[in-house]
């Protein structure tokens, strides 16, 4: 029985090709992934892709030397992703059934992150007069990107962090200072790219 005739395969394929994650929040696709993981892994290996199930449950694909194009997430997305991952670990999130109001999130990030860091991440090389506006715009843009990639669910008023948000806590698991072995593991199996001093955040790379 081939998987290529299934509607679920088409949806999963499109999601993975756009860098998306398959979380438990989409139970139909998640169940399909669990059922056909071996076949799907074989299929994507031919593209030079590796399909992984993260210990937190969700599925994602990484590309190393493959035939598919890739891109690096901008700094703003990584920073905001880490901040949401932090908020998702706060017990207070259970009070609102796992949702965070967008306004609250924007307010929290502005109060808990130093302004110079916010400026460097969200509004680099911008004139002082436009910094606040730029930060706000960039935060909203980053939220949209994170939602498109399946890290969060985004509505007009609130976000809901999904399991995939824990990808932004990968370095924190090794106390922000991974050993060489751990570093290699993160690069190969988790799609982590270390900047090594260069600014790789804005560029797209083709494999």
């Amino acid at each position: 029985m081939t998987i290529f005739h299934d509607d679920e395969f088409v949806e999963i394929d499109l999601l993975l090709r756009r860098g998306g994650h398959i979380n438990r929040s989409n139970m139909a696709l998640y169940d399909y992934m669990c059922q056909h993981l071996t076949q799907l892994k074989d299929f994507y290996t031919r593209y030079g892709c590796s399909l992984y199930q993260h210990p937190d449950g969700f599925f994602f694909a990484t590309v190393k030397g493959g035939k598919l194009q890739t891109r690096l997430l901008p700094k703003s997305c990584v920073h905001l992703g880490m901040f949401i991952a932090l908020k998702a670990r706060d017990p207070e999130i259970t009070r609102s059934s796992g949702r965070i109001s967008v306004n609250q999130l924007l307010q929290d990030i502005e109060t808990s992150v130093p302004r110079d860091i916010l400026q460097q991440v969200y509004a680099p090389k911008r004139r002082e007069a436009f910094v606040d506006e730029c930060i706000n715009d960039e935060l909203k843009k980053a939220l949209k990107t994170l939602a498109e990639l399946g890290f969060i669910e985004l509505t007009d008023l609130a976000i809901r962090p999904l399991e995939a948000i824990s990808r932004f806590a990968e370095l924190a698991r090794s106390n922000n200072g991974p050993s060489d072995e751990n570093r290699l593991n993160l690069i190969v199996t988790r799609g982590v790219v270390f900047n090594e001093g260069e600014d790789a955040s804005e560029g797209d790379t083709d494999e």
Binding site: Q69, V78, I93, T94, V113
Partner: protein
């Protein structure tokens, strides 16, 4: 038991008018209501023959309020007097002794019917027995089943009224009161649980986790209770109500000329209330399930794994710096659309017309010459040549009079010269300035007929 007195619409209106004219109001503070509840309890727990409460007892009851309410012990006498004044004004309490002048210490108070009802309502509201929603519905369904049996036996309009319609009204009222009380309590419990769980999770000790898990298991009971209501009980109740409605309709066909009065409206009311209860139940079940899943996930993925909060602390540190790493994600371009019927039209767009700014310019209005001005001039030329010679001043003057456009006609002077030279013999000597019209002077041009 107080029997209900039926008022005619006119008498009801007069009562309403009196209430409005006298500005009657029921203005009570929370302390007043609390005092009423204590007064009622005092009357009920004491000797049956004693209905009045002496002032000393009132003081004791009031001091109990002060003990419960933090910071409420300032000037208790005055506060008691004010409370009693409000209760008497609202007719919730009355002085029992009927004498107008008496020492305050000797005054006796009694609780009125309205005061008793207010106190009773609050006592009833707080009496949540913890009965599950399923139990409420089970009792409701058993009542409905008895009503169905009565409906099957009903032979006359009176039977329907006494055994079915009135019973249904009573059962509906009872069910609604129970359900509303349950809903309020359930919402209160959920709000309390939402506040309680984060406190437990913050502690992250083994005890607090166990407590949290036991709370979650209670939540599962609540969820199953809510789902039972949605899945089984409301369906069963609706089926019974449909059955009563069908019986009413079949009785019309069999031996009754008209539908039993009020049966359809009460059935509709039942259905409407049941739908509302179902919707409420579904929404609350979803809320409880969401909350349960989130807490369960938090326990499983955060609290159990990161008891010391090392990951959270590391994340806190990392958001305070510019990230020096990123994630590489697949970013395959979208598939190309190869269908011919959706090919784009590649005809270049015309450049948009730019409106010229004419605001700074003065507008000039020019009058158009009549189309036949040349014909007029030629006609005058021919007419004058017939007489032997033609003068430009004369021709232009006549044409200007005919067209009433001096300037326009004069602008054709050069054209006229051309026509005149072709039509006649130019006379060189005539070159003097001549008045063509009253305001225009031209250099004369004369031709003689050939």
């Amino acid at each position: 038991m107080i029997s209900s007195v039926a008022h005619s619409p006119t008498s009801i209106l007069s009562i309403v008018q009196t209430i409005l004219e006298e500005n009657r109001a029921l203005e009570l503070t929370s302390r007043d209501i609390a005092l009423l509840v204590l007064m009622r309890q005092e009357v009920e727990s004491g000797d049956e023959a004693v209905l009045a409460i002496p002032y000393s007892t009132m003081q004791a009851l009031h001091s109990r309020l002060d003990a419960i309410e933090a910071g409420g012990s300032q000037n208790p006498e005055r506060r008691l007097t004010e409370s009693m004044a409000r209760l008497i004004k609202a007719e919730c309490a009355a002085k029992a002794d009927m004498t107008r002048i008496r020492l305050t210490a000797d005054t006796e108070y009694q609780i009125t019917t309205i005061g008793e009802s207010v106190a009773e309502w609050h006592v009833m509201q707080s009496e949540f027995s913890g009965e599950p929603l399923t139990a409420i519905f089970r009792s409701f369904i058993s009542h409905l089943m008895r009503i169905v049996e009565d409906a099957e036996k009903a032979q006359s309009e009176e039977d329907w009224q006494s055994d079915v319609v009135q019973q249904m009204q009573h059962v509906l009222k009872g069910m609604l009161v129970s359900i509303q009380r349950h809903q309020k309590e359930l919402d209160r419990q959920h709000a309390a649980l939402r506040d309680f769980v984060p406190m437990l999770l913050i502690q992250a000790s083994e005890d607090s986790i166990e407590q949290c898990e036991s709370q979650l298991s209670k939540v599962i009971k609540t969820i199953s209770d809510l789902q039972e209501v949605v899945l089984a009980s409301t369906n069963r109740a609706q089926a019974l109500i449909d059955q009563i409605g069908n019986l009413a309709r079949s009785s019309v066909n069999a031996n009754q000329p008209i539908t039993p009065r009020g049966i359809e409206s009460i059935c509709d009311e039942f259905q409407r209330r049941l739908v509302n209860i179902s919707l409420w139940t579904i929404q609350r079940a979803t809320d409880w399930i969401d909350h349960h899943n989130v807490v369960h996930n938090h326990l499983r993925t955060v609290v159990r794994i990161d008891r010391q909060r090392r990951i959270s602390d590391a994340l806190k540190r990392s958001v305070a710096t510019v990230p020096e790493w990123t994630l590489e994600v697949v970013s395959e371009p979208c598939f190309m659309r190869m269908r011919e019927d959706v090919q784009r039209d590649h005809t270049p767009k015309k450049a948009p017309r730019v409106r010229k700014d004419a605001s700074g310019r003065d507008r000039e209005f020019t009058e158009e010459l009549p189309d036949n001005v040349h014909e007029i001039l030629l006609a005058h030329l021919k007419a004058e040549l017939k007489d032997g010679s033609a003068r430009a001043s004369s021709i232009l003057g006549k044409a200007a009079t005919a067209t009433k456009d001096e300037v326009g006609v004069m602008s054709q002077f050069s054209w006229l010269i051309g026509e005149m030279t072709q039509a006649g013999q130019m006379e060189d000597k005539v070159r003097h300035w001549t008045q063509a019209t009253s305001s225009i002077e031209i250099e004369e041009f004369k031709v003689d007929a050939k």
